[in-house]
Symmetry: D2
Subunit: 306 residues, 4 copies
């Protein structure tokens, strides 16, 4: 039976994502993103489900850095999960009683308005996950009065929902990805996304422009770019790119090869179906058939047939 | 007397940065980045010193988002502060006693190797700042055995340094900026940096390439680019740019005006001396004198003098 | 009374163009393009009308090189003249009698099909202009049997039209320009063209790409580009550019200034109403109002108002 | 025995070029460029030697247009021939006697200074080639007193050299090419040039920039670009490109395929050794080995080996 690790404990948004992505799978909660990925790497699980970015918070640094630097895993699926926060407390508590509230820092940020308005005197404390915060609040003798987490976490740990939908925005979404040990990517569906990480060979002015041109000249549209520090001092970055299409596509293959040639290193992170089901707009002259035709033509003129 | 807010409590790296940037200033510790900036905005302080990016962790999301969206402040100075972490405990404790360690999540990440090696069984807990973690550990009856923070924080809160230099890398640097209410920027020094935020008018393929071209065509070199989500769903970003030169420079002025014309919005974040003292490489034809000469020439040909 | 020089003798297409561009003007025929331009330069005429390019033959090298290198003149008007060729002979001659036909080399080229088909045995001889060929044929004792020229030339020199519309294509057009001594250009009409010549500062790879980017980044569309040898050996070129818009337009002024900064030299050749009456497509953010607005914004942020 | 057609009659610079390019070949003089090429096409000759461009006059329009539009031929060699003009007359004539001088229009242009200075009253008449002019002058009863042509033409037709080196510039060079019926190109030598013609699919703004980017992104340096009218009205052009490298090179192959994909049509005109023996500067990441390596890498990641 398929077993997938996820950012636990039970009741996290990652668990919700996993249940949607792979309803049949056995679920293995992990203490943090790194642990979930390690479980997949070591074969304790067949894969892992972790958050990659959030529409408010941006890229999840730990996931991005793990994918870029640690032993390779490939993205095989993605999911856009609407994120709704609830204020959860032990039975008997009321909003007026809440003096110390605990949650993941991202959740605290996303509920900043609610906290300022409804819990102006409460102290906000960080936890490693929203579900971990709920678990902590549920402990007898916990110093925390309430957690901000998914409603499902409250159900799981026996907490009462004092308020729901308390995020400052009602349309927050987190993008989760399913990761597997390296294997041939899922077949192209016509609505695919590809992810990779590129390290600059040297940080000359114009290096980023050069990289973007490798994509644009083959008609490959970026959907996300994120810079991350290499760790070697301020001013040294590497880049995460997400873009339309599948590594099996001719235009994607040529763009990615071009990037590989001009960069110090490129790490492929996978090609997988897009969660939004959008098909790419393929610019004139960049469809697979155009590449095939051009390739036949090149062979002919190299042979002197003009 | 000059008064500057900073990310407190006393003993943070931000305090260290403030002491270097403005040794004479009165220091006003604030609970978090947003509070420090608000103190500057409301006039409770003359300015604020906050972290902008870290050589390991990348951009400090709160600072970036505050600068992009809340009431404007301008960067007037920057500092690159080497970051060295110590393991701090109440007097009498030894390393073998440490079961629960607390620190800012970024510090926990940067000391991951040390923790795994030396404190394999310890639980790591998040705090809003490294100095706050030290303060917490110093409280009588604190459930935490040790904090990871700057040595200065240990001195401040009466803790003992059990180990120093415990970061996984010895060359970690955090970039701090001093922010002030809008006013004319400091005069050009020949080694300046300019920062701004650009919002895309629409998220078409090639929009980022277009923005970079506005810089490159005027010979303005980027030193940092960072994408941040607009909050309007996955796939919608705005961009932070740092680049060489001063807004008073002709090439910078024209590039920034070009960006303003093609973007939905551009927010200027200031021009200020570079902490590294590097002078920009000015490409042929892009010095102020070249712009002046071209401008005189244009006026002549418009008048028919050729 | 206005006096304009033109590529003579009487009966040339240039005379036709002059009659349309300036019906009232006194006409001064000149022996060749250089002589017509010199008449304008020296003040013997108020201007000159000469061909600049032809839809079959391409740029008229003499005109292009004269404008680029000799004492400056400015284009103040253009005209697209349909070109129709006739076979002209002295009265009494018939097609079967034609053994030697004379015309301007461009006309011979454009009537190649007709000559091969109808005059397969005739010798074709070059003349400095089509009208000059007609004049020559009209001379008593001329060794030439027929000229290829405009019908008007036949009328002028008393020749008979043996055949009309003998060009290989029926839609051939020549672009004529009116040139004047340097003076402020005619006011913008909303449908203008600007011409210039750019000399590379050094012939590095990518120099042309660099020049085109100066145009494209300001949304200025090229309508013609033509390389010409500098004369300093094979592989050294300069460039003629025609593009949409008027030198008084903000986007044109900035693009042209940018070119001036990165090139060894730029010679402005004039802004003038387009013969085809087309209005430019102005890309988002590049209208005069956008430049004005950006300029005001830049002044404000330079003063610290954000 | 190898037979090559050339732009005749005997004594032209083309004959000189042919003697250098193929000393052993039988020489077939042709009346004009088109006739020489047709001889090669029809198999009457094994190839042809014709001028392609001149360092003063620019591209030879007839050659360019023939190569672009008529039945395909491939360039297999090139030669840079210094061009030196002599004033040639029948024995007995002196400079003072010269009233009518005849030559090819390009030669007349290139000797403009000498003619104005030394033959101010002479009439200059056009001939189809410089050698044809010499031949004409040599005819008994010729109305022409002198020809401007290569010294060799004088020797050939029994004329006397009244003056030598009379060109306005002493460093004029004409580039000749040898053309053959389509066959596999000569093997790469490490110092090769490739030529082609590209027709735009539609004449949108930015089309030329797009084409240049196909070259620059693969590190292929252009050595010549020349626009030619398509014939379909003013403002419609196609482009001749010469560039460094051989069609067998990976970077050239990919660039040319890219051009083929985005253009309405591309006609390959051959890869051949450079006359100047220069080796290309190969930009980082664009050598054949880099393409090979990238191609192997792409195959691996497509198979899931990362």
């Amino acid at each position: 039976m398929l077993k997938l690790a996820y950012l636990g404990p039970e009741g996290t948004f990652a668990e919700e994502a996993l249940r949607i992505l792979a309803p049949e799978a056995e679920r293995l909660p992990s203490a943090n993103v790194g642990a979930a990925l390690d479980a997949a790497r070591r074969g304790e699980a067949d894969g892992a489900v972790v958050p990659l970015e959030n529409s408010i918070e941006g890229g999840i640094a730990t996931t991005l850095d793990e994918l870029a630097r640690s032993e390779p895993l490939l993205i095989t699926a993605e999911l856009l999960l609407p994120v709704e926060f609830s204020l959860l407390a032990r039975p008997g508590k009321e909003i007026g009683d809440i003096k110390r509230v605990i949650s993941h820092p991202a959740a605290l940020t996303q509920c900043r308005g609610y906290i300022a308005r409804e819990l102006p005197d409460a102290v906000a404390v960080s936890a490693p996950s929203t579900a971990g915060a709920a678990q902590e609040v549920a402990l007898p003798g916990s110093p925390y009065d309430a957690a901000i987490a998914a409603r499902i976490a409250g159900e799981h740990y026996g907490l009462v929902e004092l308020a729901g939908g308390i995020g400052d925005r009602s349309d927050t979404v987190t993008r989760f990805v399913r990761l597997s040990r390296p294997a041939p990517p899922p077949a192209p569906t016509g609505s695919d996304r590809t992810s990779l990480v590129a390290f600059l060979s040297d940080d000359h002015p114009g290096a980023l422009l050069e990289m973007l041109t490798e994509f644009s000249v083959r008609g490959v549209n970026l959907t996300r770019i994120e810079s991350r520090p290499t760790g070697d001092g301020i001013g040294r970055y590497f880049f995460h790119f997400d873009f339309e299409g599948h590594i099996a596509d001719a235009r994607v293959g040529e763009a990615v090869s071009g990037l590989h040639r001009v960069c110090e290193g490129v790490r492929f992170l996978g090609s997988y179906p897009r969660a939004d089901g959008l098909a790419p707009q393929i610019r004139r002259g960049t469809a697979d058939a155009d590449f095939d035709e051009a390739s036949g033509w090149l062979a002919r003129i190299r042979g002197g047939q003009v």
